[in-house]
Each structure stands twice: as C-alpha cells, then as structure tokens.
C-alpha cells in the first residue's frame, strides 16, 4: 500500500519528521518499507499559469503557450492535448532535470531551450511521467486551482509517499483513515473526524433483493442521477497516481479514492443498462459471465453474483460486468457499498485466479459499519466531481447488525504474557486510544472493540494491542524461570552428527540437495539391477508427486540420494581435481495417499585424485578400495558390530553392505554405461546405504578390552596362488590355522607379473603372534606361521615363497 503523507495530514496532525513517523509505525507492526520524496528533484520547476494559447503555423498538433510563473512569463511549444488557458501547470525552466518520457529505461535529462518549427521554446510544461509521478504522459499534469503561481512545484505538490507492507490481520488499517487511527493511538494525537453529509436525498428509495446473509452481511445501493463523466479534479488524480492507482474518469476515480481513504471497495453500475431491481444471488451452475476486462469466465459454484431482472451485471466483491460498466455516456448510476462474505470471495477469486484490490480487501473481512460511511463519502465526492444528484435514501440490507462482544482482560494476563508490569491506567489508556470501549472492574478490564476491529476476540489479542502500542523496547530480556524441563538427548541426531563428522574427517564433503527431482533425473538408474537393498530407481507411480511443482525439474520427491549427489559430482569435476561427496538425508517412500515414509539414507560418490596432487607423492586415482575403506571405517566407528562387506556375485567391482544379515546397500565402481548417460568421463565409485539400518545397529559405547603388555612376534608369509582366489579365502585359512596366539594379520603387498607365471599372484601377509600372559619365543611364532602355511597349501593349493619348510 502506498500512502501520500499529505493525504494522512487531512486526518491527523503530524509534527514529527517522516522518518520518525515511519519508525513509530514500523515498531507498532505497520512496517514502512519505503519512503519516497516526490519533490526532491524538482529544482527549477515552478507552478505556472497558462495565460495564452496560440496555434503554431503548419503544425496541427502543436500550440504555443505563454505561461506566467510569477516573476515573468515565457513561451513554450507543446503538443499536450489537454492544455487550456487558465490552467495551473508544472513549468520546467532551462536546467531542470526531468524524467525522459521517451526513453525505454528510466533515465533523466537536463532541459535545454530549443527551437521547434522555428519557434523558440524556453521551457516545458510537464507530464506526470516527466516529474516522476507516475506513468501518465498523454497530456500535461494539471495542478489544483489553489496552487500559488510562481511557487516552486515542490511546495505545491511535493510530498512523501509511504509504502507499507501490512500484515494480514491489520486489514482495518489498510486505508488513510485506518492509518490515521493507528497513528493517533501511537502518538497520542487525536485524529480529525470528517463530517460527511447524511444519505437522505428526496426521491424514491432504491429497492433490491439479497438472497441471504450467507452472501453479504450488508448491502447498500445508492442511486445518483445527472452525472457528467469527465476527468476528476487534479488533486484526486494526483493522489490516486501517488497511491499507484491510474486515474480513469470521475466516477471510477471517486470509487477508488473513497476506497483508499476509508478501505471500503465500492462499485458503480450504469443504471440505464439495468432492468428492474438489483438482486444479489449465488451463481447458477454453468453460469458464464463477461467481466469488464472483456474476459468471459465460467463462474465457480457459490460465487456472489449481482444481477438485475434479466441477467448478471457483476461479480460481487471481485469485478464488475462489461454489460453495466460506467462509460463516457453514463448519466445515472447505482453505487454499491457492501460487506460480502469473505470466504465466498476468497474461494471464487482463487478458483478464477482473479484477485483484485476489492477481492483482497473483502477476503480479509470488512466492517459492515463502514459500508454506509464510505458510501456517503463517495456520494459527497460525486456531487463535487460529477455534478451528481443523489436520489432517495439508499437501499440498506443489514439483517443482523454486528454486535461486538466484550472481552475480559484480567490485569495479571498482561504480565503473564508480556513479562512486564503495565499499570492498569496505561492499559486502559492504550485501549481507549485505539477506540476500544473500556470498563474497569476490580482486577480486570471489560473491553469492547470497535466494529472495525473484528480481529480482536481474545484477551491475548488485547495484550498484543497493549504491547505493540507501548512498544516492546521496555520488555526486559530474562531467561525462562521455573523448573527446568527435562532435556532429552536425541540419540539419532547424535549418531547422524557423528557420522557426518567422521566422513568429513575422512576427507568427504557434504552436499545438500533439493528433495524434489525430475523423472528424467532418475531414468539412468532404471537399468540397474534391483537388489534387496535400498532402491535407487522407482517407477513413476510409486513416487510422491507434487501437484503444483515450480518446474518439471522439481516435481517428485526423491526416492534415493545418489542421482543428486552424482549430479553434484559431475558439475564439480569440471573444476576440481578431486571430488569426494556425501549426503545424509531423507528420501520419500509413498504410502498410498497418506503421508509418505521419510527414511534417511547415506550416499557417497568419489572420483578424481585420491589426494591433492603434490610434488612429493605420485598422483593416485580414487578407486573402489578408497570407498570400501570409508564404508568400513565409518561402520566400525559407529560400532556397528554386525556388518560385513561382501563381494556381489552379480556385479563386478561391487560390494554388498550387510548389517545383521540384511542388505543395507552397496558400494560399487559405477558402470561405464551409467556414467556415460550421466555425462561423466572419469571412473566413479559410489555407495548408497540405508541409514535407518545403520542407526538401528550402531552401539553407543564400546567396552574397554585389556591389551597384552608382552611383545609380539612378527613373521611374514608370502603366498603364491591363483589369481581367482580371493583374499578373503586366504584370510579365512589364516584365521583358522593361526592358533590361539595369532593376534592379527595385515596384507602388505599384492603382486602380479614377472617372474610370476600368468594367472598367478603373490600375497604378502604380515602375521602377529602375541600372548596375554608371557613373552612368546620366536620359535612359537614360527610354529604358528608354519601351521598357516600348511593350511594354505592344503586348503587352497597355494605355494609358499621362500618357505623354510618343505
């Protein structure tokens, strides 16, 4: 909402600077988001009076105007169609800086004297657009007749325009009068009441019918005859323009003006187009209606229609009809001021996608008591602006006048909610300043809000009024007192955090992706074999779809994380030598029409160099063993005792992650076809794991195990075996044959190639033997090693290289 301060001044005395006013309003909840100073750039622009107009030879559209600006007169050549002798106009002298009305983008230019058709033009009469007052450029801006000739334009027309971002519940303040009320309460200045002539003209009373109060709480219609349609007075046009409303003609302008002033939407019907009485009814099934924007619209069920004896003539509270529009030739109107049902207005306006200024106001609830006041003000203005003659008293349907309920406000309630003591007299004073009716009882106030404050129904609402008008600055900052609530530690959140921090320490970077993705982004994963673990791909009818997505890119709730993570990986590989990413977050599993399940998953994708490239180390490309190490390390760190990483027999270079015998996901080198479809040209290893399974299996604390204090005996064994024998098989044998002193082993080297025969490999294991109660001898280590060697020969047919036994 844009409000010229000069308009506010008609309703309240304002002493403070505009910035101070804006601050006070903002603190009270009426946020001022902008202050525009309209006169600030108007150097060398004055109020001028057009003294004489002469034709310019050989130029039909141009005239030569002599304009007096107090000190002197000068001549200007202008093409403005609306210029007339005796008008007061904005006269710019040479050197004035004006908006370039012909430029496509806003820019300013300095005025210079020119010659047009051989005639010297020494200045310019300005349009609203040239002065930065709006978009109007058809003609010049005509000033109010009261303006002093020769005065700087800023003195006559300069103003501050406040822009408000009003919250939803402050609809009552969405007008000049409404704001004046608020300012009165905040500043303690009494606002100025305007006395509006009563609606009681001679003549027949207008009649109409309203189908019920479910359509409108109140409905008024006033007949006005003898209208002359013409442009409205300059001050009305200028205020409308400043408020961001285009001036059209006097009747339309007055309805808009009265709405901005009082907050009540009004509508005028051309009475000559109406047959019989006006009727307010609900829309018929299948009804189609042409609104004044020339759109033929199907009427949603339950829409409030304004009709005459034969047809609909308007959509109540949303938009008038083309068939009853006020036009150049209109001489008589029915002026409507009504309180339409907010819910019906909201539903219809939404269903038609037709939100208008009127519908927005009705949706928020209008005060039925305001309807006659705004109507009377509009009638007063139409008498002035259009020579209108009101006929009869208005039709006034008001079956159930609103009665405001009294609210009890115990004094203690204010402190209970605000945490600060407010003297009862101050409470009373504030509420009265907001035009509430207040009666004081022993320990409480009985408060009746005015009819325009339908938002106030509870004691808490009254506390808010007291709080915001006092200002919240005095409220102390105190920490909550009383018994401390039990702090519940969230085990799941702690483990999640531990996992994230472990992964970060392991060199991975966290990403967070949108929950919404496209079907196309899932498509490359369709061909993957569906294992038992968490699925990456789901058929589209198994996904949760958003009915009104912003874009097709974000239409479905993701069933898996890797599609997003791999996109991040691809994007980052363009400029990073190493990209190790993880995401730990929710996926969505459809449950019919109910709320989906939202289990969490952990996805990882690794590509590029294993370590930042360094002159001291050879570059190494990330491979599956990096990923396996991360998965292995993480599960161990979370103390998942029941996990196993097992070879996936279906897929090469792939591991199944099992937890307590259940498949919790995979860790794989991604297939070249998948990578190609994702437009990634480097090897990628990736995993997606069921976080819920991990969470369920993780154990909180580990138990201390005493370690041996005796030295260990270390011996190596080099095993020559067929390439097809997996290391896991070798280790099984080691574990089985090593004896009770075998503490552990470590694979130190895997070697293939000369001088080994084709299809063979050598595995070098370091063995560690140790006892808890004594120092082992070298011989005991040798004995253990030999047992292992024997086992390997027998079980796997392996050769032991460099063995000291046959």
């Amino acid at each position: 909402m844009r409000v010229p301060v000069s308009w506010l001044r008609e309703y309240i005395e304002l002493d403070q600077p505009v910035t101070q006013l804006a601050h006070l309003l903002t603190i009270a909840g009426l946020e001022v988001t902008g202050i525009e100073d309209t006169g600030s750039g108007w150097d060398r622009v004055f109020v001028g009076m057009v003294e004489r107009i002469e034709r310019v030879p050989e130029a039909d559209r141009l005239v030569l105007a002599t304009v007096n600006y107090g000190a002197d007169s000068l001549t200007v050549v202008t093409g403005a169609p609306n210029i007339a002798e005796g008008q007061k106009v904005a006269l710019a002298l040479e050197g004035a800086v004006l908006v370039d009305a012909y430029a496509d983008t806003p820019r300013k230019r300095k005025l210079k004297a020119t010659k047009i058709k051989g005639i010297r033009s020494e200045g310019m009469v300005c349009s609203a657009r040239e002065l930065g007052l709006g978009s109007e450029h058809e003609g010049i801006l005509v000033l109010d007749g009261e303006a002093t000739v020769g005065a700087p334009l800023a003195a006559a027309l300069g103003d501050h325009i406040l822009t408000f971002d009003l919250p939803n519940n402050l609809a009552y303040a969405n007008s000049v009068v409404g704001l004046a009320r608020e300012i009165a309460a905040i500043t303690g200045v009494v606002r100025k009441e305007r006395s509006v002539p009563a609606l009681a003209a001679p003549g027949a009373t207008t009649t109409a019918t309203v189908d019920g109060k479910h359509l409108a709480a109140r409905y008024l219609l006033q007949r006005l005859d003898n209208l002359v349609i013409r442009p409205s007075s300059p001050y009305i046009q200028q205020r409308l323009q400043a408020s961001g409303v285009r001036a059209i003609n006097n009747v339309v302008d007055v309805t808009n003006y009265a709405m901005l002033e009082y907050g009540q939407p009004l509508h005028g019907f051309d009475r000559d187009t109406i047959e019989g009485d006006v009727a307010v009814r609900a829309s018929h099934t299948g009804e189609v209606f042409e609104t004044l924007d020339h759109q033929r619209r199907p009427m949603p069920p339950g829409t409030i229609m304004i009709a005459d004896a034969t047809r609909a003539i308007g959509i109540g509270g949303i938009m008038g009809g083309l068939n009853s529009e006020v036009t150049e030739g209109t001489t008589s109107i029915l002026l409507e001021s009504a309180t339409f049902d907010p819910i019906r207005i909201r539903r219809s306006a939404r269903a038609m996608s037709l939100r208008t200024e009127a519908s927005a106001r009705f949706e928020r609830g209008m005060d039925p008591e305001l309807a006659p006041v705004a109507l009377a003000r509009a009638v007063e203005l139409l008498v002035q602006e259009a020579d209108a003659v009101p006929v009869g008293t208005p039709y006034d349907w008001y079956p159930e006048p609103t009665r405001q309920r009294a609210i009890e406000l115990p004094y203690a309630e204010v402190k209970r909610l605000l945490g600060v003591e407010v003297p009862p007299e101050e409470m009373e004073h504030i509420l009265r300043s907001l035009e509430f009716d207040v009666v004081s009882r022993e320990d409480r106030l009985l408060v009746t809000p005015p009819s325009f404050r339908q938002d106030v129904t509870l004691a808490a609402d009254l506390v808010e009024e007291i709080g915001r008008i006092r200002g919240y600055d005095e409220i102390p900052a105190t920490l909550p007192s009383g018994a401390l609530p039990v702090q519940r530690s969230d085990e799941a959140a702690l483990l999640e955090r531990r996992a994230r921090e472990w992964l970060v320490a392991a060199g991975l970077r966290e990403v967070i992706n949108y929950d919404l993705i496209s079907v196309a982004a899932l498509e490359p994963y369709r061909a993957l074999p569906a294992g038992e673990g968490p699925a990456l791909w789901q058929p589209v009818d198994q996904l949760v779809k958003v009915r009104n997505p912003l874009t097709a890119e974000r239409e479905y709730l993701r069933p898996s994380l890797l599609p997003g993570v791999l996109q991040n990986l691809r994007d980052n590989l363009r400029h990073q030598e190493a990209v190790w990413l993880f995401e730990l977050d929710r996926v969505f599993v459809r449950q019919g029409d109910g709320l989906p399940l939202e289990p969490k998953r952990l996805a990882m994708a690794l590509a590029g160099l294993r370590r930042p490239s360094s002159p001291h180390l050879a570059d190494g490309e990330t491979n599956l063993y990096d990923l396996k190490g991360v998965v292995d390390g993480l599960l161990a760190a979370l103390r998942v005792h029941t996990y196993a990483l097992v070879a996936d027999n279906e897929r090469p270079a792939s591991l199944g992650v099992e937890i307590a015998g259940r498949c919790a996901g995979f860790a794989s080198a991604l297939h070249a076809d998948l990578l190609a479809s994702l437009d990634i040209d480097r090897p990628v290893v990736a995993a997606e794991l069921d976080w819920e399974l991990i969470l369920g299996a993780a154990t909180r604390a580990t138990t201390f195990a005493a370690y041996s204090r005796y030295p260990a005996v270390r011996q190596d064994v080099a095993i020559l075996t067929r390439d097809s024998v997996p290391a896991a098989a070798v280790e099984q044998v080691i574990a089985r044959y090593g004896g009770r002193n075998l503490r552990g082993w470590r694979l130190r080297e895997v070697y293939r190639g000369a001088p080994l025969p084709e299809g063979m490999k050598s595995l070098l294991y370091g063995l560690e033997f140790q006892s808890d109660d004594r120092t082992l001898t070298e011989a005991e280590g040798t004995k253990g090693r030999r047992a292992i060697e024997r086992g390997l020969r027998e079980q796997l047919g392996a050769d032991i290289r460099g063995s000291d036994q046959p």
């Binding site: 603190i27 009270a28 909840g29 009426l30 919250p167 939803n168 402050l170 907010p342 909201r346 949706e363 609830g365 909610l417 605000l418 945490g419 600060v420 808490a460 506390v463 808010e464 709080g467 915001r468 919240y472 900052a477 105190t478 909550p480 007192s481 009383g482 401390l484 609530p485 702090q487 530690s489 969230d490 959140a493 955090r497 994230r500 970060v504 392991a506 060199g507 991975l508 970077r509 966290e510 990403v511 967070i512 949108y514 929950d515 919404l516 958003v546 009104n548 912003l550 994007d571 980052n572 990073q576 990209v579 190790w580 969505f588 709320l595 370590r611 360094s614 002159p615 001291h616 180390l617």
Partner: protein, 338 residues
Amino acid sequence: MSLPEQILAIQSAALEQVTTVGSVRDLEDWRVRYLGRKGELAGAISQLGAVSSDERRAAGQAANGAKAALQEAHSAKLAELKVSAKQDNALDVTLPGIAPVVGGLHLTRHTLYEIIRIFTGMGFTVFETNEVESDEYNFGLLNLPPDHPARDMWDTMYVSDDVVLRTHTSPGQIRAMRQFNPEPLRVILPGKCHRYEAVDASHESMFYQVEGLAVGEGITLASLKGVFEAFAQQMFGSDRKVRFRGSYFPFTEPSVEIDITCNCLGAGCAVCKGTGWLEVSGGGMVHPTVVRNGGYDPDIVSGFAFGMGVERNAMLRHGIDDIRHFYANDLRFLKQFA
C-alpha cells in the same frame, strides 16, 4: 709389527679415513670402529699385558696419543659436519607441505549445528518431524483453518488436497506438544521447508528453518527476548542487541518480528539498508488455540515460539549475497566455509 707401531698405524688409518666421512652417521660408525669399546684402539690396548715393559710403556704413550688425536679429530669433524648440515640446500623447505585430505560440512549444516549447539546449551532438545505434512498440522491446528486469508502468507506446494510439503517447521510445535504434554517443554525443531516461490537471490523454494518452542508456566515475551538475545550474542557477537517489532502470525499472539543490530552496530550500512537492524526471526507467544491444540491449558501455561531461516543466518554471518549458492553444491562455494 710392534704394538706401538700397530697403534700408530691405527691412528694414521683412522685419521686418513675421517677425512672422507660425510655425515654424522658415518662419523658415528667411524667412532665405533676406532674409539668404541670394542674398537680397534681398544683391541690394541688390550694387548698391553702381553708385551715387555719397555714396549708397554711406549705402547701406552702411543695409545694415549692416538686416543687424544682421534678424539680431537672426532670433535673437529663433528663440528664441521654440523656447520655443513646447516648449509645443506638439498631440502628445499619452501616446497609445499603434503596437504592432508580434509572434507567439510555443508554450510547450512555447519550453521544449523552452531544454532543447535547454542540452544541445547540453554536446555532445548532437538526434535525432528516429517517434511511432508498434513494440511491439518501445517495449517489447521496452527489456527489457520481452511479459507483463512492468512494462508496466503505461505505459497504452498501440495501433494494432494490434504497433504503438503511443510511450508514451515511450525507443525512440529503441535507434534512436540502432543508428545510431551503436560510436561514443560523446550524444543528446537530444525528442518527443510518448501515454498511455491519463484527463486531469486533472496528466495529459495527449499530452505532450512529452525523453530524454537518453550511451553510451561511463567513463559513470557520477556523470556523470548532473553533466550533470543543469548542466542544472537553467541551467534553474531556479544555486542548485539535484540529488538521486537509488532507483527502478525496466526499461531502467535502477541506476534513480533525479531531484529538484531546489524554488523555495522547501528551505524547504517548496505546490509541493513541504513536502518542499523536486521530482521532475523519472527515469533511471539503461542496462540491460546495452538496451546490448546497441543494439549495444554492456555489459561495456566503459556509458551513462546520463534522461527528463523538457517540460510539467512549464514548469509548474514558470511556476507553471502545470493541464496542460490547454497544448494548448487559447488565446491568453490562450500570449501570456503569448512
């Protein structure tokens, strides 16, 4: 060769050899070989008992002389080696170190964890609820019945008539209250929220919110101010102040906007558009209807609630001017913060 001659031979061999020694380690080997307990000189001396007394005297003198000479040679060589070690340019210490591999949390997470740390320190418990919500929890129970005009404050993505992507973390208020009533409650509800909103530098269709909720006897707007001030001073700096402005949310009454003093500390700058204040949160006293919907009696207990955007917090802290950076997941962005 007589014993004194032998000793002299050892001495001259040792002195000759020491000139070729190039490192402290080689020098040590040299010392062990000639001067060590089982070294050559000691070996020669051990034969003193087996020779005539004349020879023994001469040998003794020779041994003493040799020992002194070798020890001197040793110290001289050691000093020389230490000097030359200092002048050794083989190790170019200006070469880069070997960088350890480090990862990092996402900036949003990092900020969220910081917020959680501060509030858990004040006795709040983290409480997560679902992202896909019923219309009832997202709106209805929060004093926003169907057709309420204030529903326009949230541009909503719908899954069906009754199911939405939560537009705020506030439905968690109801879920937390229903789980824990009638006990006093202090929770923070972090999580992703979604809006049907055109994306630009300051608006995202998905963002993280943190909601704070305290319910119990004696909770007031002053407690909200105290808690938020404690938060703001830890999050943004101990010199920050908190200001409340009147506002409107259907689920709080009274409702306030919560501003903190800007990085410029009130001087006025581009970030605060000259006002000296930054809007960081909205909140108020939980509306009596919402308190009742949570299973508490609003005449006895009261509550405060507030909600704030995590990205906005991060943007203010780090001077980020475009929210679209957050979920593009570009490492050139993310690496700057962790």
